[in-house]
Every structure is written in structure tokens, then in C-alpha cells.
Symmetry: C2
Subunit: 382 residues, 2 copies
């Protein structure tokens, strides 16, 4: 495909935005991305969203957001892949520009989750699981991840406290990200004493929901903008069974592995070439499994990278440099676009206290379900 | 973009499929399309669906259907554009193959609507309207179309009975389509005496919901299959405001016009070159407005084509040759793919009593909302 670059990025703070509607949040991020690119409009809009039919009684977000963002009559559509919706929308926009059908694609991930009560949100999030074989049995989405975490601890001999570095790193990095949902440092003691959600997952293993939107403008590489474009040098998607019990191995994210391998191949890089990795730490166990699937650690040893201080911005494999899902927050359908935006910020050198020195190549991996839809993107300074 | 062809098609009968799950319906259509193409698998799957989060408690249909159809680990994603979801998924698959990222794309439109009570389905369908400015005011989706129809009758002086030919033609054609939901001829008298839904729209102005799935396999043109490939020679998408009151003209489908014009240009054809037109007759008024927007009739005169017998298979502008939404049925997120499948059947000369003689160029137009997302595709025998 023809080379594609990211010319502009935008994002809102992730919060409980009682004063803003779904479309207003999307607008704020979309206009910021257009402004950042020095553009007023785009040929097409690709919206990433998971929950608006269930939470906001709104479908057809493509048309809605295109109109609201000043792109009336433009091509627009919504992409849904549960919590992987943002990354999937980014890849859809990428293929649209690569096909030559459009010359610019505005990708907008948006989610407004706090308009409903907690139990409604929990039920809505459970649609990411297999309705007939998992949800029907009464298991929630966090419950499924708890089963995986428990099994991982059993198989590889880890204690719950061994996962603490993931959350501590995420919270520490979010302190320097004004768009993050949570601004509070945490300690190992707090991590261990946090309220239980679904044993062994407690509150500090789990990412917070929130309202937010992020956007990126895709154009053919070489196009001039305000800032230098960031090349999308690797892009790949892979899927797995939604139901975890259908997988040959419950503790290995096959789709993450396949998606990462394809992205590495396309970009011509190996894991050791990646300067930072924005991974999908919806729960701390997912951080460990992603590191393993993407070749940064042996199976069962992802936790070790945290214990060895390798995941901090100064470490060998910096992750969650802007707070990750854990502390930047997880507005589900928007998350994948936030990850892209954050990698761009790193490659532009805009991350201040959590800047990865000399970052040239960054990776973002967005996951729908417990590893059912995985999107991996590798970005390079143009 | 590189030329793309449809190598295989498949569909299920539209019905109340109490014995089949959402994934089973999709599987049946997907396997039929693969078999028709002489293939066992595809590189990627693009699912078109609107209501599964609301009706079936299931999101992430891309991964779910890819696994069920034997494409485990393949790239897969769901596209949603309300009732335009099927056409939007088809265009997403098209752009994926055109970009070179995949060499084959299986597009599957699926909807299972009869698992919930009628009022739940009505509420779910209302998510196609503008939640904040239309639905919040209490208007249903059929109610919005009723307002448009009433205004059209007022502006142009038509009577309700003038719309009868649309429904009569659709029902007559569906008699010869084994996959159609309704197999009953209707008369003008029945049309006039039918139960009122939302005045002036009565039961025979409105398409029936149903469970069903349709599929098409996209590959680069020139690829050999069981049957000759059908070229996708025009493809375009456009949007409009979802809220009808925001449009400068409530009685002209601007997005349908723009989408059709772009598709004509890409295909190098004009309206008079189109041998048949599978349009989006969710309500009879939408049939008239689509004919006008696409250049087959002057504004306010779409109804005339029905009264002049031009919309029958032997007419100048054959529409709904397999029954249309009105009688083939309208499983919302699947409908756009059914339209594509039916145009392919016509271009292959497989339509028996409703075959359009010498059909070489066919058009399908799929609409989300009351003209908010419009996908137009022009197909040619390769």
C-alpha cells in the first residue's frame, strides 16, 4: 500500500463530562486534530465507538460526527470491535487512504460511558464477551479477566503484588499527562490493599471507565502540515475466538502475537527496535500477556519486566508512558486512538517528564475482548 | 484503486429463525458465498450489523463471525451505519482489497431481530435517528418517515394510493425469490385498506423486519472462480445530517444524490445506462425519493415511475427485482449485502421470472437513517 502518515492529533481530557454530549466530545478532539494538521476539513471520517447504542441510544456515529465536525456530506462510518474499536477505526481510515478512495481520513475514537449507572455499564461492557457461551452463564468482563489472572498466577507462580509495578508505572506517568483521568501516585501497599472487584483483580488492577475522545488525521506520506508527519510503518489486525474456553491456550494472546508479527514484518523491525509500547492494560494481567505475545518477554515472564523496572520511560521497554488504560483512563471505543495520539506525542518529543529519550519508533496495540480483536500499529518519525 | 470483483455470493431466507443463532445465520451465508466462489477461506471478514448489541447482547461481531466461519485469526471487524451497515461493510471490504492489505474479503451482513418483543425492536431501530434532537422528543423511526411522506404528498399533490405500485411490484417480484420474507401478491385495494402504522404510512408502505444474512466475496478483478466475477465498477459513500430538521430540504436525499453521482462518475455511466436498481425501499416514500435523488425522475415525480409501470422488471427502471426491502424483507444490517447479492444474480441471469432481459449494469443503494448514510455500488458483468 502507499505510505501513509499522521498529520495531526487531538484529544480531550478523560473525565466524567456531564456538561458535554457524545458529539461535543468527538468534535473537540476532531477539531484539535484538524487544527494540529493545519487543515479545516477531511475527505472522510472513521469513528471508533463501542457503546453508544447501549449507553447513548445513538447509532450511525459516522454520519453524526461528520456533520458535527463540519464534514457534512463526507463519507463516514463507524467501526466497532469492542475495546479495539479505536484501533480498528484507525486501520479502516488507513486502508481508505491507502486504496486511493480518499486523500485524507479523520479517525475519531469517542466514548461517553458515565451517562448510565455502573451496573448498566457493566452489562454493556459484557457485550464484548461471547453472549451465548460466556455472558449467558453470568460472567462479567472483569470476571473473565480474573479467571485468566488467577490461572496465570497458578501456572507461573506469581503473587498478586508482583503485578504492582504495572499500575504504579501507569499512575506515575499519568501525573504528567493533563488529559489523563487519574492524577494520583500509588504505592505497593495501596495496590495490595485496594478494594476487590473480582478476585484476584482489585480496583488498582483495573482501568477506570470515562468519557473522552481522541482523533488523528491520516494523509499520504510526504504531505506537509504544521508538524512533520509521523509515518504509519506497520499496521496489522488479527482475531481470535471471543470465548476464552475455545482457545488452545488461555494464557497466550494468539491474535496479539499474529498482529504484532505482521506489523513487525511490514515495518521491517523487531521488538528490540521498538522505543516505546503503548499496550492495552485494561487489567494488569493484560499488560503482562501483551508483553509476552509481542516478543518482549518469554511466556509467563511479562511480570518480570515490571519487577526489573524495565517498563518505565527510562527502561528497556517503556509502556503506558502517558498513563496507559490504567491511569490515563479507558473510554473503551476511544482508547485505541488515544494510544496512537500518545505514540505520536512521544515521536514528536512532546512528553516532558515521561519522554522516552530519542524515541524514533513506537508501537500501539489495541485489544477488543480478552484478546479477540487485536490491532497493532508501528509509527516512525517521517 | 485496483479493479475489484465479486467472486461469490450467499444468502439465507429472511424469516423468523427461532432455531438459528446470529452466528449460525451468518455462517450459512458466509459458507454459501465461499462455496459459490470455489474457495474455502478468505483473508479478512467485514461484518455489517446494526442491532446485535441491543437485541443479541453481542458486540465484536467481526471476531465472532470470523471464528465461526472458519477464518480463525483472520483480520475481521464490524461496520455500523444503521440500516446502511451492509453496504458500508461491503465498501470497507472493497477498500481493504483495493489497498492491497488483503487479497480477499468476505463481507457478511447479518441481523437477528426477532429475539425481542416488538417495542424493544422499535426502540432499537430508533437509534438510527438523532438521539438528542429526534428520539429524545419521542419520535420513532417510522414516525420520522411518516412526516416526510406527509410533506411529500402535500408539496407535490400525490394521494396515498399513488404509492401502491411500489409495494405491488415488490410483492409480485418476491413471489419468485425463495429467500424472500413475504410470498403474497397484493392489490391496490389491500394497499389502501392496510392497518395504519404512523399516518400516512400503513403496513403495506413499510418493510418487514426479519432474521437473515447475506455474504459476498471480494477479490482483485480477473481472479478465476466457479462463475465469472462481477466487477465493482462504481462505489461511493456520502452522509447527511441524521436529524431531518437540520437539512435545507427535507424532501431531497442529498447524500443519495452525492453518493450516486460519485458512483456514476467512477463507473463512467449515467442513470440511463443502469439496467436495474436495487434501492432502499424501507418505506414506499424512500423508494420515490431514491429514484429522484439518483436521477431517474424529477423532484416530486418518483411516484410517477410506479404509476407508469416503469419500475417492473420489464420497465425502464426496474427496482426491487427480488422483492426489495418491502417483500424480500429488511434485516436491517444485512440489507445492503442482500442488495449486492441480488444485483449479482441479475447480472448472472439467474432471476427467472423477474430476470431483467440482457442486464449488464446494475446498481444497489443502501441507506442508513432517513438518508443520513448512503452507499451506492454499480456492478458490471466482468
Amino acid at each position: 500500500m502507499r505510505p501513509i502518515a499522521i498529520l495531526g492529533i487531538g484529544q480531550t481530557k478523560i473525565d466524567e463530562h456531564w456538561e458535554k454530549s457524545l458529539r461535543d466530545l468527538a468534535l473537540e478532539a476532531a477539531l484539535a486534530a484538524l487544527h494540529d494538521a493545519g487543515r479545516e476539513t477531511a475527505d472522510a471520517l472513521f469513528a471508533g465507538n463501542m457503546l453508544s447504542p447501549l449507553i447513548n441510544a445513538q447509532n450511525q456515529l459516522g454520519a453524526l460526527l461528520a456533520d458535527w465536525a463540519g464534514l457534512r456530506n463526507a463519507e463516514a462510518v463507524k467501526i466497532e470491535a469492542a475495546c479495539g474499536s479505536g484501533g480498528a477505526a484507525f486501520r479502516a481510515g488507513l486502508m481508505a487512504v491507502a486504496s486511493g478512495e480518499v486523500e485524507s481520513a479523520l479517525v475519531v475514537g469517542v466514548e461517553k460511558m458515565t451517562d448510565k449507572a455502573g451496573h448498566d455499564v457493566t452489562a454493556a461492557l459484557a457485550t464484548a464477551a461471547d453472549a451465548d457461551y460466556e455472558t449467558e452463564a453470568g460472567v462479567s468482563f472483569v470476571g473473565l479477566n480474573a479467571l485468566i489472572m488467577r490461572r496465570y498466577m497458578h501456572e507461573y507462580g506469581w503473587q498478586h503484588a508482583d503485578f504492582a509495578p504495572f499500575s504504579i508505572n501507569a499512575h506515575a506517568n499519568a501525573m504528567h499527562n493533563p488529559y489523563a483521568r487519574l492524577h494520583q501516585r500509588i504505592t505497593v501497599e495501596q495496590f495490595e490493599k485496594s478494594s476487590m472487584v473480582a478476585t484476584p483483580i482489585n480496583l488498582l488492577d483495573a482501568s477506570p471507565i470515562g468519557d473522552g475522545a481522541a482523533a488523528a488525521l491520516l494523509v499520504p506520506a510526504g504531505t506537509l502540515g504544521r508538524a512533520a508527519g509521523i509515518l504509519v510503518s506497520g499496521s496489522a489486525s488479527a482475531t481470535d475466538t471471543i470465548a476464552i474456553h475455545d482457545r488452545p491456550e488461555a494464557l497466550f494472546l494468539t491474535a496479539a502475537y499474529k498482529s504484532a508479527q505482521a506489523a513487525y514484518k511490514m515495518a521491517g523491525v523487531r521488538p528490540e527496535d521498538i522505543d516505546l509500547f503503548e499496550l492495552h492494560d485494561a487489567f494488569s494481567i493484560m499488560g503482562a500477556l501483551s508483553l509476552e505475545a509481542c516478543g518482549f518477554a518469554e511466556r509467563g515472564q511479562g511480570v518480570r519486566l515490571g519487577l526489573d523496572n524495565e517498563i518505565r520511560p527510562q527502561g528497556r521497554v517503556p509502556i503506558c508512558t502517558r498513563g496507559g488504560l490504567k491511569a490515563r483512563g479507558h473510554p473503551v471505543g476511544a482508547t485505541g486512538v488515544y494510544q496512537i495520539v500518545e505514540v505520536v506525542q512521544q515521536l514528536r518529543g512532546e512528553c516532558g517528564a515521561t519522554q522516552v529519550d530519542g524515541a524514533k519508533i513506537g508501537m500501539a496495540q489495541n485489544i477488543g475482548g480478552s484478546g479477540a480483536t487485536v490491532l497493532t500499529h508501528i509509527l516512525k518519525a517521517e
